[in-house]
Symmetry: C2
């Protein structure tokens, strides 16, 4: 629950409305990917259900509004989240790898796939490098993170391209023909 934890973390600096919280999140962690309101309120409802936040209704001026405050259980939860290292298991479930293997399995041109992906990655790296130059330190750090990972992908794409023939031999031991698809 990463969005939930982030919202909880933001709440640790003081009680806030959902609306306000959403904008804080977007400003700090959005980076071209703003949250939807639905997600914010659904997440807050979940946090409320789990006792990590509490609401104080505010009958005062303005439209209906609820102030969310983090509870002590919530603080404990954030602390646990921050001290537990992330497990990067997802790197073992690479969509790129899946695509290459499936392309080979179905007799498609895997080289095309690798080339297309490389071009897209290079395009994005140029864009991010541009974005880095006129951003503040926080922007630079997040761009660097993405750039490092794009570069990692690029290295893997090269490595895989060089071993495509070997991989093809492993992946399709018997060159079974494709059965006709049925409508």
């Amino acid at each position: 629950m990463s969005v939930g934890h982030a919202l909880l973390g933001l709440l640790e600096s003081g009680p806030r409305h959902g609306y306000d919280l959403k904008r804080s999140y977007d400003e700090r962690f959005g980076h071209g990917r703003a949250l939807h309101y639905g997600q914010v309120y659904a997440t807050l409802a979940r946090l409320l259900k789990n006792g990590l936040v509490a609401v104080e209704s505010e009958p005062g001026a303005g439209p209906d509004r609820k102030r969310y405050a983090i509870t002590s259980a919530g603080v404990t939860d954030v602390a646990a989240w921050l001290t537990t290292p992330e497990k990067p298991e997802p790197y073992l479930q690479s969509a790129l790898y899946t695509k290459v293997v499936l392309a080979l399995l179905t007799g498609r041109d895997a080289t095309d796939l690798l080339d297309t992906q490389r071009a897209e990655h290079l395009r994005l790296m140029r864009e991010l490098t541009r974005r880095k130059t006129d951003g503040d330190l926080a922007d630079q750090l997040i761009c660097d993170h993405a750039l490092f990972h794009l570069e990692a992908d690029l290295r893997w794409l090269e490595l895989t391209a060089a071993r495509l023939d070997q991989l093809a031999a492993r992946v399709r031991p018997g060159s079974d023909p494709l059965p006709p698809a049925r409508p």
Copy 2:
């Protein structure tokens, strides 16, 4: 819908039962993260609803079983998926970055966080390197992918550690004290 596409891709080599399909997936793409049956059948139901697969009931021997076959629409869908490059936007929503910023915002020790994460990454890299040596080519490729990305994370962790003071200054312009949490 990545799991759906992968299953669809596997079906292109011939009709299969859900159970069979699950095992094929785990063998080729599982890598320590096997699918749950529930996920397989839910995904197949969705593919069926969207007309990407068709079922042929098999009243023959054995327990109730359904053979799933890919449709021509399904083949088109797989082809489109394989030719469209992946958008690596997620690299801009790094959990690591989020944690560092939140640690700074709430006055925690961000250096600890970076150190802990570095240790965990190094541990995993040693494990993956070991796993690479006694695996086949497919295993080596997937391990390399993970290793490249772990290395990218490591570089970012070093970079961030070196700029922690600057980042802290940017992140907390006013050193607002934490309000007490309420139970």
